[in-house]
């Protein structure tokens, strides 16, 4: 049964539902039409990142640093989402270093070997800065992320997880940005 047939059937049964369905299908078609065909990387928008740095110790955060961290954390999640879906780990180096980069690269390599990929629908992050070293060389943050994670084997959807996720993040400054050095998903229990 083609999409056109479905749409026509819906139109006859329930006009309001048909309108909505038509809208959804049109939106999907438009999204497909806008996606790049030559570069096989999914188009992912920057997720929303809200940073709360109240009561940060032992050093308070400067406003510019806070803005930079939020921006680069959003870029990191965009790159991570693209890499997990496309199986291309090259872009991770822009925002990840150290353990975080090594682990994600390994995961993507093994994911490709297994013929799998992961799609993340990112609905935003609430970052809470919990430690900022006095010399400014490291910042630890807790991230409450709203993610829908779909796991595929080829084109077969294996599983969808749609629960809040909590991450422990370690970011360190580089020449012109803050890098994600460690990204570890943790349980929701208090520490």
């Amino acid at each position: 049964m083609s999409m056109v047939e479905i749409t026509l059937a819906l139109k006859k049964i329930a006009p309001p539902f048909a309108k909505m369905a038509t809208f959804v299908i049109t939106a999907c078609v438009l999204a497909i039409a806008q996606s790049p065909t030559q570069i096989h990387l999914p188009q992912v928008n920057l997720p929303e990142v809200h940073l709360d740095a109240t009561g940060l110790t032992p050093r308070p955060i400067e406003e510019l640093t806070g803005t930079t961290i939020a921006r680069h954390y959003a870029l990191a999640w965009r790159d991570l989402t693209v890499a997990l879906e496309s199986g291309q780990a090259e872009g991770l180096g822009e925002e990840f270093v150290g353990f975080a980069k090594d682990r994600l690269t390994k995961r993507i390599t093994e994911q490709n070997q297994a013929g799998m990929h992961v799609r993340i629908v990112d609905r935003g992050h609430h970052l809470k800065a919990v430690f900022y070293s006095t010399d400014g060389s490291a910042m630890q943050l807790l991230d409450q992320a709203q993610l829908e994670i779909q796991t595929f084997d080829g084109n077969k959807l294996l599983d969808t997880q749609n629960v809040p996720h909590k991450y422990m993040v370690l970011m360190t400054p580089g020449a012109d940005r803050w890098y994600v050095r460690d990204l570890e998903e943790v349980s929701d229990k208090p520490f």
């Binding site: 799998m116 010399d135 599983d159 998903e185 943790v186």
Partner: protein
């Protein structure tokens, strides 16, 4: 009219079937997966599949740095190796038979402390300065997972002279840090972070603080005057290092002139030409020393 309604009903059935066809593989269970809620990193465990029936299924393990896919046979337990669980975080296991998939989540927590990552800041610090030294230690397990449960890190301070001391700090979310004053004597101070049998040492160099009681004397010789400081020391008696700049300023009828000169062998020396009466002052950093008036009168 009846025919149209019947036709709509048939289409509805087809649509419902289509929707169910899409939804069922996700909701239905191939076999229930029993996994522990929390596993320590590097610890193997098994998933019972003995009572799950017969035949084969595809098993998937998706972790923070590890993805595995393999065919498993029902009727025997599924072994998850220790090497599959080295990185802390959330793991997903999925089991799919020919018709459906089932999944479960578990968490891998860091193992026992095995590595300390230790930062001491700054590398040089003036003596007797309040809250001037910061020590930060991150505690990791053998797989370099940050250990989030509290652990006691002992910071041991060993100055070049005088008695050493230590301070115990509990980690919070894997990080222990402390701030302390520099000690009164210049020289090397070793700070060691210790946890169990692990030790990481770093060295900080304490240097003299600002000059204290800065004094100079003048020796006139014809139209020249030579100015020389006493040995330049801080308030704790530590000699300021050679190279520290001392400024001599002369004010006479020609105006004001300043000469900056580095300390050599503990003292600073400079020579001015004189043209009548002059007032000369000495300073080192923010510290002002004495003043001398010259023109035969000191």
């Amino acid at each position: 009219m009846k025919r149209t309604a019947h036709s709509h009903f048939a289409r509805c059935k087809r649509l419902t079937g289509l929707i169910l066809l899409c939804v069922l593989p996700v909701w239905a269970s191939a076999a229930e997966l029993h996994v522990p809620a929390v596993v320590e990193a590097g610890q193997a465990f098994s998933i019972p599949l003995k009572d799950a029936g017969s035949g084969q299924a595809t098993f998937y393990l998706v972790g923070p740095d590890h993805v595995m896919k393999r065919t498993v046979a029902f009727g025997s337990d599924l072994q998850i190796q220790s090497s599959d669980l080295r990185t802390a975080g959330r793991y997903q296991v999925i089991l799919c038979d020919s018709s459906s998939c089932t999944s479960a989540i578990f968490e891998v927590k860091a193992a026992q402390p095995a590595h300390l990552s230790f930062f001491l800041h700054p590398s040089r610090v003036p003596v007797s300065t309040r809250d001037s030294i910061d020590a930060t230690a991150f505690v990791f397990d053998q797989y370099f997972n940050l250990i989030l449960t509290p652990a006691a890190v002992d910071f041991r301070i060993t100055p070049a002279s005088g008695a050493g001391f230590s301070r115990e700090v509990s980690t919070r979310r894997g990080v222990a840090w402390m701030r302390m004053d520099s000690t009164p004597h210049e020289g090397r101070v070793q700070v060691t972070a210790a946890l169990g049998s692990m030790e990481e040492a770093r060295v900080i160099q304490q240097v003299a603080a600002e000059a204290c009681g800065l004094r100079m004397k003048a020796v006139a010789s014809g139209s020249m005057v030579t100015l020389e400081t006493d040995p330049v020391r801080d308030c704790s008696g530590n000699a300021l290092p050679d190279g520290t700049v001392v400024s001599f300023t002369k004010v006479d009828k020609a105006g004001k002139s300043t000469v900056d000169t580095p300390i050599k062998k503990g003292i600073a020396r400079v020579q001015f030409s004189l043209d009548g009466r002059a007032l000369i002052s000495v300073a080192c950093g923010v510290v002002l020393g004495n003043e001398v008036a010259v023109n035969g009168k000191l």
